[in-house]
């Protein structure tokens, strides 16, 4: 086996191995566990970095072997895969750091970090999957490994949320499997391939292909939280903050969105999908989701729930971007994969900080929090403005690119969607910011704890600051070749056959 | 109608009687007897049919011998179990065991099983 084959496997194995080691470590060995976690995370980041560099140079990494008759297990590192892999590897490191601080003194840490590592392994697998089947494998693994994280607290509420989560995602998985099986039934094993497989299909395949597309999207849409399949996301908010951050920013919703990207680009092919009239429907659903999520977010009084509905809305940007079916629009959608991730993860980190340090869960308790926790609040503010789409932050780049793409595609109504959504975003984020910065603290904090010499534990403070810094840089340096936008343009040039 | 076929039909009839008894009778020992009756019927069918087709044939004889051994073993085991069951519960029949499903099915609270 060459290094080319080994790199993806290693990238996958680092977190799997970490999971195994952590599961076998006794509960009390906190330091050792933290060390294992961090080493694995850094190692993985390095491996992914290596792969990114290689892919940038035009190298191919991959491995495949037959699994079930007619089905191959394929890992492949292409530019699109590296986008998601890079995202998850870097955020894993930060989330691990954050989680170590967040779960200090709480029980069941061994279980938590074990499943946490499994969850990241599955995300990595999703990124590197080279065909729908392998994708599905890791997709389901992700479902299973996140369940214990959602119910981690073990309260009735958490358990209920876990049940909702598992019902939604497993049903989605079953639907997806159904779609994959059908697709497999009439065309065999389909590796992801730029341009898709159905460029010159026979006309009698049209109807079944359309049906399968709908089924696949319905299956993937559960994780991507497309309305009306989004119900699990706000309920899953009871999970600990690092989990929410991971669920919402990187792993779960992105897995769904990423799957849709793969299906549209590399199974059907953008042009075929467009020719079948599928993108139009998808765009309509995505647009509705964007508006609906934002509108629902307005009326939430719980901070994390508001963020959750915001996620519902934001993830559909990615999907809407794809439906623009042009190089610019697609780039806008793809780059939002990263941008939404970094913004949402920051927001959840901050929400977690407020909850852990001050005991704040509801928005009306936030009055004056900016003075007490300036670092966290700055990060929160930046991320919120990013969500609104204020330049020069990451969210603006998304909106601008998508807007240009929409005009290029002649889909002017998308601009209206973007504008309405931005207005709604402003309407639900600005009052929060106003409370944080411009209101005087009225009551004592619900549950304050002093934590070291900073406003909160350094483990909790640095991750949101770093992600906030990243989201500023991702916007400011968007035109640099190493920025997310730069990478996405590379993907579009290389892998999206337009 | 050869004698062999007659055996076979007699066997089938025995099977039927045995099956009837096996299903209808609840007393365990009598159920066991019904089973044995059925077994004998099957052996008769085995021997009778084979001889009807191909004349005297040693193979079914050997099979039936083996079958009888198996049936005896089964009967012995059953008797042991029935006896012990009778000792422990004082019953000679199997009634429907308590259903161990979630409470909404009935008002009856199921009693705790002992630790395994």
């Amino acid at each position: 086996m060459t290094t080319g084959a080994l790199l993806p496997v290693f990238a996958l194995m680092t977190s799997l191995t970490a999971a195994v080691i952590i599961f076998t470590l006794p509960e009390q060995k906190h330091q050792l566990r933290t060390a294992v976690n961090l080493i694995a995370a850094v190692l993985k980041l390095l491996l992914v970095g290596l792969m990114i560099w290689g892919v940038f140079q035009g190298r191919e990494y991959g491995i495949s072997f037959p699994m079930i008759p007619g089905v191959e297990f394929v890992l492949r590192a292409d530019a699109l895969a590296m986008l998601f892999a890079g995202l998850s590897a870097s955020w894993w490191l930060l989330t691990t750091v954050y989680a170590v601080g967040y779960l200090e003194d709480s029980p069941n840490r061994s279980r938590f970090f074990g499943f946490f590592s499994l969850c990241v392994a599955s995300t990595m697998g999703i990124a590197l999957a080279g065909n729908l089947f392998t994708f599905f494998l890791f997709y389901e693994m992700l479902t299973l490994s996140t369940y214990p994280l959602v119910v981690h607290r073990g309260t009735q509420q958490a358990l209920r949320a876990g049940r909702t989560y598992i019902i939604y995602t497993l049903t989605g998985g079953a639907v997806l499997l159904f779609g994959i099986a059908m697709l497999h039934g009439f065309s065999g094993d389909l590796p992801f391939r730029p341009g898709g497989h159905f460029a010159d299909m026979s006309p009698d395949l049209q109807a079944p292909l359309t049906l399968v597309f709908v089924i696949l999207i319905a299956g993937l849409g559960v994780k991507a939280a497309i309305v009306p399949l989004h119900g699990w996301l706000p309920t899953a908010m009871v999970a600990p903050a690092p989990v929410s951050a991971l669920l919402h920013a990187v792993a779960v919703v992105k897995a769904g969105a990423f799957g849709i990207v793969r299906v549209v680009f590399e199974i059907y092919g953008l042009e075929t999908a467009n020719a079948l009239g599928l993108l139009w429907g998808l765009a309509a659903i995505a647009a509705f989701t964007i508006i609906y999520g934002s509108a629902r977010a307005l009326s939430q009084s719980d901070l994390k729930r508001r963020l959750a509905f915001s996620t519902v809305s934001q993830v559909s940007y990615i999907i809407l971007g794809l439906c623009l079916a042009g190089p610019v629009g697609v780039a806008g959608g793809l780059v939002h994969l990263v941008h939404q991730g970094v913004m949402k993860i920051t927001l959840f980190f901050c929400a977690g900080n407020y909850a852990e340090t001050l005991g704040i869960h509801r928005i009306d308790e936030l009055d004056g929090a900016g003075r007490r926790m300036p670092g966290t609040s700055v990060a929160f503010t930046l991320a919120a403005f990013g969500m609104i789409g204020t330049p020069p932050l990451a969210g603006f780049i998304t909106k601008w690119t998508m807007g240009t793409g929409a005009l290029a595609a002649g889909m002017d109504w998308v601009i209206a969607v973007l504008v309405i959504s931005s207005l709604l975003n402003a309407a639900y984020f600005l009052p929060v910011l106003n409370r944080i910065w411009f209101r005087e603290q009225k009551n004592a904090w619900p549950e304050e704890r002093q934590w070291g010499r900073f406003e909160t534990s350094a483990w909790l403070l640095w991750p949101p600051l770093i992600t906030a810094g990243f989201l500023v840089l991702a916007g400011l340096l968007a035109s640099a070749s190493f920025s997310p936008l730069g990478w996405v343009e590379l993907i579009v040039a290389r892998e999206v056959d337009l | 109608m050869t004698p062999s076929l007659l055996y076979a039909f007699a066997g089938a009839a025995l099977c039927g009687i045995g099956l009837f008894g096996f299903i209808v009778i609840s007393h365990l020992l009598r159920k066991l007897l019904a089973f044995n009756l059925m077994g004998s019927g099957v052996f008769l069918v085995l021997v009778g049919l084979a001889q009807h087709r191909s004349g005297p044939d040693p193979v079914p004889q050997a099979l039936v011998l083996t079958g009888i051994v198996v049936a005896i073993a089964a009967t012995a085991l059953a008797v042991v179990l029935i006896r012990r069951y009778f000792h422990l519960s004082g019953k000679t029949a199997l009634e429907d065991p308590a259903r161990d499903t979630l409470p909404h099915q009935g008002p009856r609270e199921v009693r705790e099983a002992p630790r395994e």
């Binding site: 008759p69 | 099957v42 087709r53």
Partner: protein
């Protein structure tokens, strides 16, 4: 070489049964370890031989059929032999530590265990219908004995119910054998098949096939003849339950499948095939639904067996009058389902046993907080559950996938409902257990910690079941080995 292997495979269990009957529990345990080692080695060696040379027919002791016993050693058979060795070894090792050595009745565990093993090997390798009957009876009787082992009246009642069902099933099967022999004068499956091929005058043999399938389905606990299974599997000691669920029901199913594949085409009918599939489908739903409603942990697992067995019966409609490719897929699916269910269910019962031992109660709700104390066993339980749910990369998934493909290829899309819905139902009951274990509001803090070795055994099984999905291709390639080197050696 082959002689020694075959002898080892069939006679060691019998010999060990006698040996352990003479010894007490503790000494029997040590003897059993030796026996297990021999069995596993022999099974592996036989497997290796078949992988290298292909399958063969083996007349036992040089005696030819019909009076002699002829064994059929092909890829599928050795795969199952190996599976049996694995699961039985795991259960045996687990039982050695799990059962209370001081209980008087437990000394009978070992002989029954070995008889069971012998019977299983006979069934996998047997080539004539009557030997299969003997093997079946051997299995049934020792299984009933194991269920009753040292139990109270509940256990005895379950054992008796089991016994009655098993006996009825055996007689139905035997009657079918009698009818076949009367018609064709042959007991060998291949003989009957070839006779059928020459002249299709086998009137009434269709009835014989139905009788045999009925008897075997009863022993396999196909819905609605499943009522005996949950009490028996639920009340037995955990290693016993593992053996019963993993292997015993598969024995009768294996025979049914062999019958169908050889004789189904000439003797079966569309209605029969669909009926069996339908019953299987209903078993999936009914078993899953019942598992969801059980209060006792092991009853959950037992009903799950009812459901999982249902999948196996999809083999019948998917191989009757279908293309060769689809039929092959269905067979592969069945094989994988047997293997993965055996591994997963054994893992599940063993870990359930650990969990019950730990919390001192067999109720699902008593598991609250157990995830602190016994994460390892719980994890094994969960991994096994993943396989039952049919999620990738487990063997269960591979099986389900192949069933799906076969259903689509034959146009029998209605089985998709069964496959997908059944997966969701199994997820529901597995997660119910998981959910209970995550509850944090329990105040119980006296947990009994089972020995690490008890926890490791189910974990290994669960991991094997998980890995099966990744290794499905090589496993299936062994299974596909038939008599490559010509008939007989």
């Amino acid at each position: 070489m082959t002689l020694w292997l075959m002898a080892g495979l069939l006679f060691t269990p019998l010999a060990w049964a006698v040996l352990t009957l003479l010894a007490g529990f503790r000494r029997g345990r040590v003897v059993t370890w030796l026996g297990i080692a021999i069995q596993v080695l022999v099974s592996l060696a036989l497997w290796a031989v078949v992988v290298r040379d292909g399958g063969f027919q083996y007349p036992l002791g040089g005696w030819q059929a019909p009076l002699g016993i002829e064994l059929r050693v092909d890829g599928l058979a050795v795969t199952f032999v190996l599976l049996t060795a694995l699961v039985a070894a795991a259960s045996g090792l687990h039982a050695g530590f799990y059962l209370d050595p001081d209980k008087q009745w437990h000394r009978y565990f070992w002989p029954l265990f070995w008889f069971l093993w012998a019977g299983l090997n006979v069934v996998w390798l047997g080539n004539d219908l009557f030997n299969l009957y003997v093997g079946l009876e051997l299995i049934s009787l020792s299984a009933v004995g194991l269920v009753a082992l040292g139990g109270q009246s509940e256990a005895l009642r379950a054992a008796l119910r089991y016994l009655m069902a098993a006996l009825l099933g055996s007689l139905a099967y035997l009657l079918g054998v009698a009818l076949f022999y009367g018609e064709f004068g042959s007991l060998s499956l291949s003989g009957i098949a070839s006779a059928l091929g020459q002249d299709s005058s086998g009137d009434g043999t269709g009835f014989a096939l139905v009788l045999m399938l009925f008897g075997l389905a009863l022993k396999t606990a196909l819905f609605p003849m499943h009522r005996w299974l949950p009490p028996a599997h639920g009340i037995a000691r955990s290693p016993v339950s593992a053996l019963l669920s993993a292997l015993v029901v598969k024995g009768s199913f294996y025979i049914a499948a062999r019958l169908w594949l050889e004789l189904g085409a000439p003797l079966g009918s569309l209605a029969l095939a669909q009926l069996l599939g339908l019953l299987g489908g209903m078993a999936v739903f009914w078993g899953g639904w019942q598992a969801l409603r059980q209060r006792k942990l092991k009853q959950v697992v037992a009903y799950s067996s009812v459901a999982q067995i249902g999948y196996l019966f999809l083999l019948f409609p998917l191989t009757w009058n279908t293309t060769e490719a689809a039929a092959l897929q269905a067979q592969q699916a069945m094989t994988l389902q047997v293997i993965s269910h055996a591994l997963a269910k054994a893992a599940m019962f063993l870990s359930a046993g650990n969990l019950i031992m730990s919390v001192g109660s067999n109720r699902v709700n008593a598991l609250a907080g157990v995830s602190h104390f016994l994460p390892f066993s719980l994890f094994s339980f969960g991994l096994a559950g993943v396989s039952l749910m049919g999620l990738p990369p487990t063997g269960g998934f591979a099986a389900k996938w192949l069933f799906l493909q076969a259903s689509l290829a034959t146009g029998q899309w209605w089985w998709l409902v069964v496959l997908l819905g059944g997966g969701l139902l199994s997820a529901a009951y597995v997660f119910r257990v998981y959910r209970a274990s995550f509850v944090e509001d329990s105040n119980i803090d006296h947990f009994f910690h089972p020995a690490r070795r008890l926890e490791i055994i189910p974990m290994i099984l669960a991991l094997l079941s998980l890995g099966l999905g990744l290794m499905a291709e090589p496993v299936l390639s062994v299974m596909a080995l038939t008599f490559a080197n010509g008939e007989g050696t």
